[in-house]
Symmetry: C3
């Protein structure tokens, strides 16, 4: 098959792009565990990662423009690249807002949300080489959906605690602006979980088309 | 026509899925009219309905994976199932947050929003068997668009009252966290109206393709 | 070529629709610069413009339903019309909420956001006749992406100032409800920038398909 090399290029590019998600999730974990003074440095690393992600997306788009043969519908490859880009944008925005808003303490559920995102990132990065045989990826998209469901539950309980009062140490956190700012950051994390699910949905769509 | 039975299966599955929206809208109406202590029970029923909805979506996806012939583009059937799922997710999230946030009183417009959603749910459920002749559904998607427009107006006025002060009984409701929590619930209702419109948009798209 | 006239109709309709965005951006600039008492009048003009936009979208959809030949995939034309509609909806919602919430002063970055939207509107309107040769529009979609990026930066800094305290004149603006209401309006402006990017994305998709 002479077409194979060109074919393979997209899997490699998407695998590379998804690798940035693992880096991003790791930086989020670091961001919420380091002292506030060190966060701008971590947010800057996240920003650099997001730029790498942008470059990866651009490369995929350019490849699409210059390839006669693509392994899937062009629109689906574009949607995969865009979905990976969305996750990284959400992560970057969460880190950026955490710094801009000078948030002091993150509520308990935030660490759990970040762990779920790290798991989703690892799964997504592992799934990309598997695009060569997309029907085998059922376990991947099912687990991503399960993770998104868990993230949603954590998110709602976290908001309830945030809005109704005390944090895990019994301190009252009901200062409205602190609540608002924290919610903005947490919303971006929840949105990242959603974006992971969108990527999984595109892959499920590809599998449906190929079935 | 030997293909008819399999063909028909999708209409039946989508009709079943849309039926859950009627149940969901009814539960929302109950939720906002019962005393606060009874709301967790109603929210649990909503959650059960949402699980039924998930099962219906899964069944449609499975059917897509195993059917050689589909009445419309696979992606459009998938988008319809996903859109119906989104509506039910919004309804479930609204009910869940109303309980989690222990909201005491709902502002006036909330009952109107829920009525509009009940109307949209009935229209959508009635439209599904009509997918057999999609061009006849123009009145359906036009009315859904009209309802979404009305919901949007109710939503904005509701927010204005919520943010600027008094409720219908002249009580000041401007406690910031109460405003915020109420807005979160109302946002989900407005999002449900949007999701109904997305379902109608997919059906309009199908009609465009078939024209 | 007998088909040319019908073909050309879509470019004219989309050009007309995009022209409303230039009007809308101009009205936003007026809205934030006039005294509060005059804003309802400007918001009404915006509402009229939004109605013109709805009519333009409807006309494009009708044309799609009655055309045998379309210059691009029907779905892409539909997505373009919908994307232009979304921008105008965001602009209309921003103006509406600014009036409904009786916002007194807009933070500094709002004027910058509105200028970026005006630039995006001009670019989009200029790009529409260029759909005849979509591959030449690369500079357009790249600049829209750049503008969206800038708008995002302005948006985040604006929120940081809004949430953390003083406005440009050193007045404390941290009344939670004022912060919340202002954020609602600003969110719509940021969403308009996103919607411009979605239109550019559809055009990039069309270019990918034609390449």
């Amino acid at each position: 098959m002479r077409l194979k090399p060109r074919d393979t290029r997209f899997f490699d590019l998407l695998t590379g792009a998804a690798g940035n998600l693992v880096t991003g999730a790791g930086l989020l974990a670091e961001l919420i565990s380091v002292p506030q003074a060190e966060r701008p440095r971590v947010a800057q690393l996240m920003h650099d990662t997001e730029h790498l992600g942008d470059a990866a997306t651009q490369e995929i788009m350019m490849q699409l423009n210059t390839s006669f043969i693509t392994p899937f519908d062009r629109q689906d490859i574009q949607a995969l690249a865009a979905g990976i880009d969305d996750v990284l944008d959400d992560m970057d925005e969460a880190a950026d807002l955490a710094v801009l808003y000078r948030i002091e303490d993150f509520p308990d559920g935030v660490a759990t949300l970040v762990e779920l995102l790290a798991r989703a990132a690892a799964l997504t990065a592992e799934a990309m080489p598997g695009l060569r045989k997309v029907s085998d990826l059922r376990a991947y998209w099912e687990e991503i959906n399960e993770l998104e469901d868990q993230a949603d539950g954590v998110y709602r309980r976290l908001l309830a605690v945030l809005f109704n009062g005390e944090d895990q140490d019994g301190r009252d956190v009901r200062d409205p602006l602190t609540v608002l700012k924290t919610k903005e950051v947490v919303d971006r994390l929840e949105s990242a979980a959603d974006s992971f699910e969108h990527v999984a949905d595109v892959i499920q769509t590809i599998a449906v088309k190929e079935s």
